[in-house]
């Protein structure tokens, strides 16, 4: 009984234990500046994971997130010069729109999201290649600093990215906990037939979930391109699997209706700490990937709340 109550807290306990473990090896890790910077660096990944949470929360998945971010780095780099700050809006609209297409294909054409988002990702990748002329693009540094400089600076010792992350987390948490949209998504994730029989427009909410996922992937791409002062059709590669891992390790399983954005925040930090620990534990280069896999199994085994999974598939 006590363990049952203890379970929902496992993700952040795991996080603290990991931080403590690394801290024991090297206490420089525990310096606030270091931890803040570590958190700041993971922000683009976090934002993407935040979006993915919505897709996974309704029991789907969004494999287009990475290609979406790639496309957005290109869009941002191409149109910053002509559009200025409005390019941010364009990016979010593109992400939202492509997400809606994924959602539409999933709900109306009954293509599983695993496939539909992969396909839409292919479309986004083609668009990115076309727009970029298959080259890496760079933004004008002056203009980037003028328009988006606030995104990547520091306030005191806190990286500004963290404020953006906190803001988005607050907004998504509000959506999840306090709005009809969040409630509907939970119902769809936990019991879609019942949600439909309660008169909810399930298809619309699912499309919205994918659209939000797309929009957040776009914001991740925008932030990343600002950080890098440029874009390329492959520059955000390597985001997708860590982002999925972050969501899962946080305790939002693929069955839907369980977990949420707060879990993803913790999951992302767990991923960041595991990565950093490779450095602090002096793991050999050739061993890192294997160790990552093994640690991942351990972390997931610890963090998922099996009581809420009726069947483990």
């Amino acid at each position: 009984m006590d363990f049952q109550r203890f379970k929902p807290h496992l993700p952040w306990i795991t996080l603290l234990v990991l931080i403590a473990l690394v801290g024991v090896v090297d206490d420089t890790f525990l310096r606030p500046a270091n931890l803040l910077s570590l958190a700041g660096d993971i922000v683009p990944l976090f934002i993407m994971a935040l979006g993915l949470t919505f897709a996974i929360y309704i029991g789907g998945i969004d494999l287009s997130a990475q290609s979406m971010a790639n496309l957005i780095t290109v869009v941002a780099s191409v149109y910053l010069a002509s559009m200025g700050a409005w390019v941010a809006l364009l990016c979010v609209i593109v992400g939202f729109g492509l997400g809606m297409i994924s959602g539409y294909v999933t709900t109306r054409l009954l293509v599983p999201s695993f496939i539909s988002t992969l396909a839409v990702g292919g479309v986004a990748f083609s668009l990115a290649q076309y727009l970029s002329g298959q080259r890496a693009l760079n933004m004008d540094a002056m203009q980037r600093d003028a328009v988006f400089g606030w995104m990547i600076g520091k306030t005191g010792m806190i990286p500004n990215e963290l404020f953006i992350a906190a803001g988005l987390l607050a907004i998504t948490l509000f959506i999840e906990r306090r709005t009809t949209l969040g409630r509907a998504l939970k119902a769809v994730g936990a019991g879609e037939p019942a949600a439909a029989a309660s008169g909810l427009n399930v298809a619309r909410y699912k499309i919205l979930a994918f659209a939000i996922s797309g929009a957040l992937a776009a914001i991740a791409g925008l932030l990343f391109s600002v950080k890098l002062s440029g874009g390329a059709p492959t520059i955000a590669n390597g985001f997708l699997l860590p982002a999925i891992v972050a969501v899962l390790v946080g305790g939002t399983p693929l069955t839907g209706g369980v977990g949420g954005v707060l879990n993803t925040a913790i999951g992302t930090l767990i991923v960041a700490v595991i990565r950093a620990s490779m450095l602090y534990f002096d793991i050999q280069a050739t061993q890192q990937q294997m160790v990552f896999g093994l640690v991942l199994i351990g972390a997931i085994a610890l963090t998922i709340d099996r009581a809420k999974l009726r069947i483990v598939k």
Partner: protein
């Protein structure tokens, strides 16, 4: 009643019809597409992919998913080459020993994968994803990043020796496809995959040892991945830690395009075959008709959606996620 029958028939045969339509389409644009030599090329690229698809089909039939194939293929391919070289470097001298060894190893990795999924009660998506990392990681550790080559003309005969226009490896793939079909239709294990996919708790209540079936499924998939690894080595004459790259998404896409339902219980190895052929035909055809390269990813995506839409039984699909 006849109307209904024909509707079901159309859905059942839709993937094959899509394949035929694609062939006609590509042929119409570039008649060179329609030649025995080109079909042989498509089947060469399809052969390893088909083995992966057959393996993962069993998993998907159970309503689970397996994302470990990239790591498993890299690891088994690398170890196969190493063992092959160790055992004399050519088939006759003892290199053949590497084959059963690697198949057993594939089974072993699949077994561990299933064990982690079932015993630790981690959903297969996550367990297999992590196992994939471990597999690739182990391959990196073994090779240190180097390429391991197999230079044996007899073994490479799988690629170079042709019967009726098709290389031997295609026939090997067909034999294993037949084995997959046999397992699926004629053995208890194969039928139990359908039972688990059709209703896991019901199967459990009927006294079926669902855990054992699941672990067996992952083990079997591991064997097929190992076959894919051997064919991949036959095709390229080498293995490295990225040999398995790109197999994950493409194999699952193929299986679904072929008409296997991701929610389990529907489809089989024939669907995997058709799906793999569809995807590889699209990839080959897009180049053959001269589609600009930057359009190809998007076009593949669109065609995949169309294929899945056509082959989905809308009335049977209750909840699509």
């Amino acid at each position: 009643m006849t109307g209904r029958f024909s509707r079901e028939a159309v859905i059942r045969w839709a993937p094959l019809l899509v394949l035929i339509a694609l062939v006609i389409l590509f042929t119409a644009i570039n008649p060179q597409f329609f030649s025995l030599r080109n079909f042989a090329r498509i089947t060469i690229s399809s052969a390893p992919a088909l083995m992966v698809a057959v393996g993962v089909t069993f998993i998907i039939l159970m309503g689970s998913i397996d994302l470990s194939m990239e790591g498993v293929i890299s690891l088994t391919a690398v170890l196969f080459c190493m063992a092959f070289v160790r055992f004399g470097g050519n088939l006759a001298a003892g290199g053949w020993l590497a084959m059963p060894l690697i198949l057993a190893l594939g089974a072993g990795i699949g077994f561990v994968n299933g064990l982690i999924h079932v015993r630790l009660r981690i959903p297969s998506f996550m367990a297999s994803l992590a196992m994939g990392f471990v597999g690739t990681g182990a391959a990196v550790l073994l090779t240190g990043g180097d390429i391991v080559k197999v230079d044996d003309d007899v073994f490479r005969g799988l690629l170079t020796y042709r019967v009726l226009g098709f290389p031997l490896m295609v026939y090997v793939a067909v034999v294993f496809l037949g084995l997959g079909w046999f397992l699926q239709t004629r053995t208890t294990l194969g039928r139990n995959f359908y039972a688990v996919g059709g209703g896991e708790d019901l199967a459990h209540a009927s006294g079926l040892n669902v855990r054992r079936v699941r672990i067996a499924g992952f083990t079997l998939a591991g064997v097929f991945y190992a076959v894919a690894a051997i064919l991949q080595v036959a095709k390229l004459g080498q293995a490295e830690s990225v040999t398995g790259a790109n197999f994950m998404f493409i194999s699952i896409t193929s299986v679904v395009v072929g008409g296997v339902a991701l929610w389990g219980g529907v489809g089989g190895v024939w669907n995997a075959l058709v799906g793999v052929l569809i995807v590889n035909t699209i990839n080959n055809g897009m180049v053959v008709i001269g589609l600009p390269d930057y359009v190809q990813d998007g076009m593949l995506g669109l065609l995949v959606i169309v294929a899945v839409v056509l082959s989905t039984d809308r009335r049977a699909a209750i909840v699509v996620k």
